[in-house]
């Protein structure tokens, strides 16, 4: 299959290329950008006039809900959602049921995902057995099975000695440990940020210190063990400051934030809307502004969807009992662009945060466009608006705080290895 993409605004964050031109694809690879190669006969010509062509998105956190939570979502439904969102590579956290703590489970997931022939799936293995925070998993075996990092997802390691050993062991092999920093005791029972909104609504609260204490602990242990750590879903201004300083000090640290925390704050909870029950909790507008600034400056490496499909029964509960999480794969691109638009962020930088930069965190040779490089790309219309409503989402999870919002960009095509895996015009 040879494809010519004509007259698109081609944006590549790696070479900082931004120009209206043509892309030629053959045998799964980009064979030319600009002039047509000699003897190229396209089987298909895509007119990208008015559209942007960028690398396929790389998402650092997408729960596909398999195995164990198929009533919430299936690999098929969520991989479709990924393609519809322009996502061509994604990392999935290990909090499945059972958790991804054995090579067989990881192999099965990779196998099932490969058969769907859609987005590339990069499992994050469990750091401890059953995510219990007690005994280490066979990390090297899990790496051989396909894991690209190790994580506790949202489960805690309360025993700091276990954390030290997990970091030391991972560092032995050069594995990256993904940690969502949260002190389990300070967060116990909490469902919202410890501030005025939780006080007014009478919601059990999680203070800033639940995050900052955990970040401080992790940073000290990174210094001590030499482990490489990726901090997931930061939510507070102070934690971002701490990461900034750690990077100045040359620590092997990276971090991400979710689309929800980039745009929302505790104020948005309104009258107990369970769609705003998220992990970590939405914090103050000051924290949100620090997240936006940190993502702009690059202190925060990547923006992720933190895609967490939840079924209706689990969501239609009083705020505190409602299952936390939000669907996100199809909102990652438009919400990155919304941020860029609102904060006047260079489009190249905004796209880098959802392509090249997360690929670096994963250690992947992905997230950029170049001649000879694999043709994973996303083509979107930056002017075509759509409204977020259940019927508009391919994900089985319809739970998102952005229900009713108008998004300002629409994915038109997604290509993986030169194959069209999503065509918005297709029935």
């Amino acid at each position: 299959m040879k494809i010519q993409i004509k007259n698109g605004r081609v944006i590549d964050p790696k070479s900082r290329f931004d120009q209206i031109t043509d892309i030629y694809i053959a045998a799964g690879k980009i064979v030319a950008i600009g002039d047509e190669p000699q003897g190229f006969h396209a089987n298909r010509v895509i007119d990208a006039s008015g559209c942007i062509v960028c690398p396929g998105l790389v998402d650092l956190a997408a729960r596909l809900r398999e195995p164990g939570f198929e009533y919430r979502a299936t690999l098929e439904s969520e991989m479709n959602a990924a393609c519809a969102g322009g996502v061509t590579s994604l990392a999935c956290p290990p909090d499945t049921d059972p958790p991804l703590d054995e090579p067989g489970l990881v192999e099965m997931l990779k196998f099932r995902a490969q058969n769907l022939n859609q987005a590339r799936v990069y499992p994050i293995g469990a750091l401890t057995q059953k995510l219990e925070g007690l005994r280490l998993t066979e990390m090297a075996e899990l790496r051989d099975a396909g894991c690209v990092g190790f994580s506790q997802a949202d489960a805690a390691i309360t025993d700091t000695q276990v954390l030290v050993r997990a970091l030391e062991y991972a560092a032995t092999f050069g594995f990256t440990v993904w940690l969502r920093p949260q002190d389990a005791y300070l967060a116990r029972g909490g469902v919202a940020h410890d501030g005025f909104v939780a006080t007014r609504l009478g919601l059990p609260a999680i203070p800033h210190s639940a995050e900052t204490i955990a970040v401080a602990t992790i940073l000290l242990l990174v210094r001590e063990t030499g482990a490489r750590v990726h901090l997931c879903r930061l939510s507070s201004a102070q934690a971002i400051d701490m990461v900034r300083q750690a990077k100045v000090d040359g620590l092997g640290i990276s971090c991400d934030v979710s689309i929800n925390h980039l745009h929302l704050s505790e104020m948005d909870i309104g009258y107990f809307d369970p769609n705003y029950h998220l992990v970590p909790p939405l914090r103050t507008t000051r924290d949100r502004d620090a997240i936006r600034a940190g993502l702009a400056s690059g202190t925060i490496d990547a923006l992720c969807s933190n895609h967490t499909p939840v079924d209706d029964d689990a969501k239609q509960m009083p705020f505190g009992e409602a299952e936390p999480g939000a669907t996100g794969l199809e909102l990652l691109l438009p919400l990155a662009l919304k941020w860029a638009d609102e904060d006047r962020i260079d489009l190249l930088d905004a796209i880098a945060r959802i392509t090249l930069d997360p690929a670096r965190v994963l250690g992947l040779d992905a997230g950029y466009l170049a001649v000879g490089h694999v043709a994973d790309l996303c083509l979107f219309d930056p002017e075509k608006r759509w409204r977020v409503e259940p019927a508009a989402l391919r994900s089985q999870g319809k739970n998102t705080p952005f229900l009713g919002y108008e998004m300002q960009a629409t994915v038109v095509y997604t290509l993986i290895e030169g194959q069209i895996v999503f065509d918005a015009a297709a029935p």
Binding site: D194, G195, F196, A198, T199, R200, L201, G202, L203, P204, A205, P207, G270, Y271, F272, D273, P274, D313, Q316, M317, P318, F319, G320, E321
Partner: protein, 316 residues
Amino acid sequence: MSFNPQLNADGSLRHLLTIDGLPRAILTHILDTADGFITINEQEVKKVPLLRGKAIFNLFFEPSTRTRTTFEIAAKRLSADVINLNISASSQSKGETLLDTVDNLAAMQADMFVVRHAQSGAAHMIARHVAPHIHVVNAGDGRHAHPTQGLLDMLTIRKYKGEFHNLCVAIVGDVLHSRVARSQIHALTTLGVPEVRVIAPKTLLPTGVEQMGVQVYYDMALGLRNVDVVIILRLQNERMRGALLPSAQEYFKYYGLTPEKLSYARADAIVMHPGPMNRGVEIDSTVADGKQSVILPQVTYGIAVRMAVMSLLAGN
């Protein structure tokens, strides 16, 4: 959601979920209506036909004696049919979701749900879900709100003090876990009380409570000075089990309302408590039964306030 979920488009009351955000005129209207019902409650025939033919479901997902009983009496005096459901013991344990329970009861032609639930926001969720002709009254949700309790406290204060605009009111105790305190604070500030104080150790005060319009005191002698109304909150025994407080004895010594501590307040100060009381923990018996105590009248006014709320929401 920018609209107020408890008001109709014309600004009238559709549900009573919280006092937060209700205009003063609505609060005053409820209190005035309740005033009228106090006299009915003193008559020999205590029934009025305002809710004849209406079905009111008391949905109590959390145990309660006083609140449920006063709601039941109030509904019956308004001639409604009352159905009491103690849900914690029935369908919830069979795995039925809260909204399924509500749907099933709505299908039995309910006109009003009186809801108590351990989770903050439960009444809001039910109100969002029910058909337009069904009214929801929050009888206590988690730590969030207990609006009829707040209103009956205001009725009590108005009965004994006449006005709100010249008062100083102190709320003492476990504000952190108290839906009653939150409703009282909103009611007092909305009705124009110029000085509302909370007095408690830091472990029992929620973050940013001053932003609700109260002044924070940690010391009873300072906090009770020149106070017209002292509201004592219930301190649940389970609070002693964690690290919130060292012991009931120490709490009583520093925050329990004794005659000596009450003497810091104005000589004509009234003492209130939403019940049930823990004598010797948050309040001394001498005070609870003393001449400044209006704790029993509070219960009586509770019936009038609940009659007022239900008749305003669903009255013929």
